[in-house]
């Protein structure tokens, strides 16, 4: 399976749906160790992303890269907070790492490189190390699991499934951590015992990728599978 425009859009839509479903939980997690807005931040952001995709003014995207860079730009323009720039830059980096229209589309391995570019962007912007109790702690094991699956011969859907599992474990593993970045760090030791909201939304993001790729595999689109 290659990463085409339709898959990129499906992924973004799946994230938007997951955020719509889970925003209360994200906000609740953020209330415990942050400022109680992570769910509404992402909700506002992905609602705007959908408008950018579907709205009357939406230009036809020139390819999957454009879908994702545009998603990133919209998040930067609409979310604010820490998660706006972080996810915004991440999606812009993923989109930029994908082949241009006319070039050969990314396969599972190529998309892995794009996901790695996303993580690099997050780390460059936020300066967080693994273990700091942030988005990085879900994204890092997600990427590792994805690569391991691809190295073992997996296709995109299987690799994405592995990444989702990795992200979810990573999110859970933030519970015992003391935050060293973002608002939760102000709590010092009191941040221990709570799951990081950003790592949790990152898990949603990879779970959405697994769903979108599985659906694409099940219902062959124009590009086949």
């Amino acid at each position: 399976m290659d990463v085409d425009t339709r898959l990129a859009e499906a992924w973004v839509r799946a994230i938007a749906a997951a955020v719509e479903r889970e925003h209360e939980r994200l906000t609740e997690l953020d209330s415990a160790i942050g400022d109680g807005d992570h769910g509404s931040n992402l909700r506002r952001g992905f609602a705007a992303v959908l408008t950018a995709l579907d709205g009357p003014d939406a230009p036809a995207p020139a390819g999957p890269g454009t879908v994702l860079t545009r998603t990133g730009s919209t998040l930067i323009s609409k979310v604010g907070g820490a998660s706006g720039p972080i996810y915004g830059k991440a999606f812009r980096a993923i989109g930029a790492a994908l082949p241009q229209p006319g070039e050969a589309p990314a396969d599972a391995a190529g998309f892995g490189e794009a996901l790695a570019a996303g993580l690099r962007a997050v780390r460059e912007l936020g300066k967080a190390e693994p273990g700091d109790k942030t988005v990085v702690d879900a994204w890092t094991p997600a990427l590792a699991a994805y690569r391991e699956a691809v190295a073992g011969g997996a296709g995109l859907p299987e690799a994405a499934e592995a990444a989702a599992g990795g992200a979810e474990r990573g999110a859970l593993d933030t519970v015992p951590l003391q935050a060293r970045k973002g608002r939760a760090s102000y709590l010092g030791p009191r941040s221990v015992g709570h799951q990081d909201p950003g790592a949790t939304s990152t898990a949603l993001l990879f779970r959405a990728l697994a769903e979108a790729t599985a659906a694409a595999a099940g219902t062959p689109g124009p590009s086949g599978s």
Binding site: A32, N41, G80, A82
Partner: protein, 331 residues
């Protein structure tokens, strides 16, 4: 949750509509969410732009006006504004003399203002950023996102704003802002949690006799939970904490801000200020100027913060300079 709002989703736009209606001396760009002075300064000058999450009113919109800010960018409640807002603000107020971004040190604010600074630079606007990080409750800044920006923001905006109004160049205004920040320390205590409209309930639960010590302005819990004690004891602890970090000594003089977090009556703030003044007098520290009231709030949170800024002649003279904003006025 009991709030005078229409819907949780529209608090910012509804509040901005109210600001626009109440303040003909301000221009409110509802589409871009930027508040500027209705009447531009007559001569080119360095422009001060600030912004941050909403819920801290009168910060920042209430400080737009002659002698203080040129523009404010309000984000959603407790959420940094987006780079587009700061860019729109910078473009609206830059007179060619450059723009100073006054940024409270929070991950989101820092990142968004950083992106905005890049965009502004691309448009040929010279930008300097003054980072405010005065909250000594954040103890170990190596292992955290660093000290939070709280009450000192008012002093930075006022004093740097006064200098900008006099036509000082960009680097000088920014350097002064940094100096005010470096001279300032804050610490806050909350008696109740804040309720973010979209969350619908208080950020944390406190018993009838409990307080959170060392809170920020975003409804997050503090460093520790304690029993409520008489104001005198709480203030003594806050003053000691600030002085321990600040190394103020007998003979020093300060500007003291006793700031309400939104849900505390002015009467209590005056009681707190009385105790602050008494404790500082014991340390031989002179309160050269003071401000008591709600300036940097945290929605409906009950509690107060204390900010002490080491004062010198120059800072005092600029502090005393005329200012004409909705929330701070001086003839």
């Amino acid at each position: 949750m009991k709030k005078l709002i229409n819907t949780a989703e529209t608090v910012l736009e509804d509040a901005l509509a109210g600001v626009a209606a109440a303040h003909p001396e301000l221009a409110v760009d509802l589409a871009n969410r930027v508040i500027t002075r209705a009447v531009r300064p007559s001569a080119p000058k360095v422009a001060l732009v600030s912004g941050g999450g909403s819920g801290h009113e009168p910060l920042h919109g209430g400080f737009v006006g002659p002698g203080m800010l040129d523009a404010a960018c309000p984000g959603e409640v407790f959420t940094s504004p987006v780079p587009d807002q700061m860019l729109a603000a910078a473009k609206a107020v830059d007179s060619g003399a450059g723009v100073v971004f006054v940024v409270k040190n929070y991950t989101g604010d820092v990142m968004n203002f950083e992106l905005a600074a890049e965009l502004a630079a691309e448009e040929g606007i010279e930008v300097r950023t003054v980072l405010v990080d005065d909250d000594v409750a954040v103890e170990d800044s190596t292992w955290t996102a660093g000290r939070r920006g709280t009450g000192a923001t008012v002093l930075v905006e006022k004093i740097a704003g006064a200098l900008a109004e006099r036509g000082a160049p960009l680097d000088e205004v920014a350097a002064l802002g940094e100096r005010v920040n470096a001279a300032s320390r804050s610490f806050a205590i909350a008696l109740t949690a804040a309720t973010v409209p979209a969350a619908g309930r208080p950020g944390f639960d406190l018993a009838e006799d409990e307080i959170e010590v060392g809170v920020g302005i975003h409804g997050e819990p503090g460093r520790r939970r304690e029993k409520l004690r008489p104001a005198r004891e709480l203030v003594a602890e806050v003053v000691e904490t600030v002085l321990a970090d600040h190394r103020l000594t007998a003979g020093d003089s300060v500007i003291a801000l006793v700031n309400g977090l939104g849900g505390t009556p002015l009467m209590e703030l005056y009681i707190v200020f009385g105790e602050v003044a008494a404790r500082l007098a014991e340390h031989g520290v002179t309160v050269a100027r003071s401000l008591v009231g709600n300036y940097v709030t945290s929605l409906d949170m009950a509690g107060f913060s204390l900010t002490l800024t080491r004062a010198d002649e120059r800072l005092l003279e600029l502090w005393d300079a005329p200012v004409d904003t909705p929330a701070l006025k001086r003839a």
